[in-house]
């Protein structure tokens, strides 16, 4: 019942009493519409019965993409006005369609409401809680209902543009797309050696053999796959409004996982932070879905517990794996863990997700000083990484992931040249 009903009944009663007291029929006329509205409203009052179903255009979509949603309303007992609100998370913006909307539903009528939403941020959502509010003809009675018809929707992070991937220093035993150091069956030329019984004729280098008067054989580098572990630092994040260092980190993780899996590598995923999650390295499209689903569960959980690399199961970090660490370098525990990893002989690369663009401008002399100290501390941290032989690439707003990866490749090439 809305406040309108007692108000109208009260008005009618007062006017009628006044009419009696003053013996003026005009007041009966004034009372009449209110009394009639209240009486008719009471007579025609009934409980509406409206059901709703929701249909999603897709169960999985990419960040930034648009998605169609359809809400079907079926009224066994309709109402003059039905307000429909489809509850949507903040990250889904309605670009087409009215939400909430007020419509009329006659008895037995079925209506379809179409919405188009833009998925502005990655994440796992459940969509389909529908709020219904019905009003009768006179607006005297109101019924509210919540229908839970939620369906899962997974919004995956969008991909970054990457041309060349980092080549792992070591390869594994299975065939893949990386040129291994070891010699074996492959395409890439490695060396020449004299013929020995058992060598295949098609490996004979006829030009070298003609020049030397004996048979020489071409040797090739084997083509192998590699183990790649993407280590996501989830100890801390820098956040400003809707922007966070976690978002580019996840986009990079998704892109790198997809690209490495496409070239037959085994890819593992570790979320190293307040909550530790891991996926053992594996190959194929299924693994990509596993990784992306694990990424959707990633959240920054504040924790003060000390956590080092020993907490990560051994099988998650296979020997000779290339470990790509995506970190904003905001927590000492991640720094210690990365140095520990390098100390254990892993081929480690740090991609620093720069939090600088998310920081407010320092205010006052003390603020400027604190900002300088903080930046110096970060520089010192990068210095420690470089001294340990860990390449660090900074990925910020000004650069792309491709540039950051290219920096690392250049660093590794130079480091190899120096060590040779």
């Amino acid at each position: 019942m809305t406040p309108k009903l007692p108000a109208y009944a009260g008005l009618a009663a007062l006017a009628l009493l006044a009419a009696l007291a003053t013996r003026r029929p005009e007041l009966v006329v004034v009372a009449a519409p209110f009394a009639l509205a209240a009486a008719l409203g009471l007579l025609l009052a009934r409980t509406p019965s409206v059901d709703a179903e929701i249909e999603l255009g897709a169960e999985r979509t990419l960040e930034g993409d648009e998605l169609d949603l359809r809400v079907t309303l079926v009224a066994d007992a309709g109402a003059e006005r039905v307000e429909v609100l489809l509850e949507l998370p903040r990250e889904l913006l309605v670009v087409d369609g009215e939400n909430p909307v007020q419509l009329r539903l006659a008895d037995g009528e079925s209506r379809e409401l179409a919405f188009r939403v833009r998925c502005t941020r990655w994440g796992g959502y459940r969509i389909g809680r529908i709020y219904l509010r019905t009003h009768d003809w006179f607006g005297l009675f109101r019924h509210e209902a919540v229908l839970d018809r939620r369906l899962p929707l997974k919004v995956y992070p969008s991909e970054e543009n990457v041309r060349d991937l980092l080549q792992p220093l070591e390869t594994q035993v299975f065939s893949g797309n990386h040129v291994a150091r070891q010699k074996g069956e492959g395409i890439e030329f490695a060396d020449l050696r004299p013929f020995v019984p058992g060598d295949r004729i098609r490996h004979v280098n006829w030009r070298a053999s003609a020049r030397r008067g004996e048979l020489w054989i071409n040797e090739h580098h084997a083509e192998r796959n590699a183990d790649v572990v993407i280590l996501l630092d989830s100890f801390a994040e820098a956040r400003r409004g809707d922007r966070s260092t976690l978002d580019p980190a996840l986009r990079a993780a998704g892109t790198l996982a997809a690209r490495y899996l496409r070239q037959k590598d085994r890819v593992g995923f570790v979320t190293f932070g307040g909550i530790l999650n891991w996926l053992l390295p594996s190959t194929g499209a299924v693994q990509l879905y596993r990784i992306v689903d694990a990424m959707l569960d990633t959240a920054i959980i504040l924790s003060f517990a000390w956590r080092d690399i020993r907490t990560v199961p051994r099988r998650t970090l296979p020997p000779q794996a290339l470990v790509l660490a995506l970190t904003p370098l905001l927590d000492d525990r991640s720094e210690a863990a990365l140095l520990d990893l390098r100390g254990r002989g892993f081929d480690l690369v740090v991609i620093e997700i720069s939090p600088l663009s998310l920081l407010p401008a320092p205010r006052g002399e003390a603020g400027v000083l604190a900002d300088r100290l903080w930046r110096l501390r970060r520089e010192a941290m990068r210095g420690r990484f470089e001294r340990a032989g860990i390449p660090v690439a900074i990925w910020g707003d000004e650069t792309s992931l491709a540039v950051a990866l290219e920096e690392v490749s250049t660093y590794r090439r130079r480091a190899r040249a120096v060590s040779v």
């Binding site: 019942m1 809305t2 406040p3 309108k4 009903l5 007692p6 108000a7 109208y8 009944a9 009260g10 008005l11 009618a12 009663a13 007062l14 006017a15 009628l16 009493l17 006044a18 009419a19 009696l20 003053t22 003026r24 029929p25 005009e26 007041l27 009966v28 006329v29 004034v30 009372a31 009449a32 519409p33 209110f34 009394a35 009639l36 509205a37 209240a38 009486a39 009471l42 003059e80 006005r81 307000e83 429909v84 609100l85 009215e98 909430p100 909307v101 007020q102 419509l103 009329r104 003809w137 607006g139 009675f141 109101r142 019924h143 509210e144």
Partner: protein, 148 residues
């Protein structure tokens, strides 16, 4: 003449107070005050009739229709619904409001014709008392219902 002028100020004052209350309720979205404002405006009309103390006011149906339309519009604006109405719903609602005002005017005219034609008496008095009692009973019944 002077006394009559003074008396005519009373309904004006009551009406202005009623309108001010309605305006306050609409501006501050104070729902419970709005009916009080309507009562104020209605009371001003009652006082005006008392002051006039003359023949039946022929404008009563128009006053009733205006008061009804004003209260409907006021309650509409107090609904605070964020949802956008479809054109059909909006048209039907506006049509219902206009129809309600028209019916009020017509029924009011009919009531006036009937009451001015009747010579009064115990029967009419009894009908009036019964209507008032019924209205109060309806209020009591409504008050006992849980609100949504």
């Amino acid at each position: 003449m002077v006394a009559s002028d003074r008396l005519s100020v009373i309904p004006l004052g009551v009406g202005v107070a009623g309108c001010a209350l309605m305006a306050l309720a609409l501006v501050s979205r104070w729902r419970s005050v709005f009916p009080v404002g309507i009562i104020g405006v209605g009371a001003s009309y009652a006082v005006y009739l008392g002051v006039q103390n003359g023949a039946v006011d022929g404008a009563a149906p128009a006053v009733a229709a205006a008061l009804f339309a004003a209260s409907e519009l006021g309650f509409w604006s107090l609904e605070r619904s964020p949802s956008r109405s479809e054109a059909t719903v909006l048209l039907r609602r506006v049509g219902a409001l206009a129809g309600g005002a028209l019916v009020t005017a017509l029924v009011g005219s009919l009531v006036l014709v009937l009451t001015t034609g009747a010579s009064g008496g115990v029967g009419l008095e009894a009908a009036g008392v019964a209507a008032a009692v019924l209205a109060i009973a309806a209020i009591a019944r409504l008050a006992s219902r849980p609100s949504v």
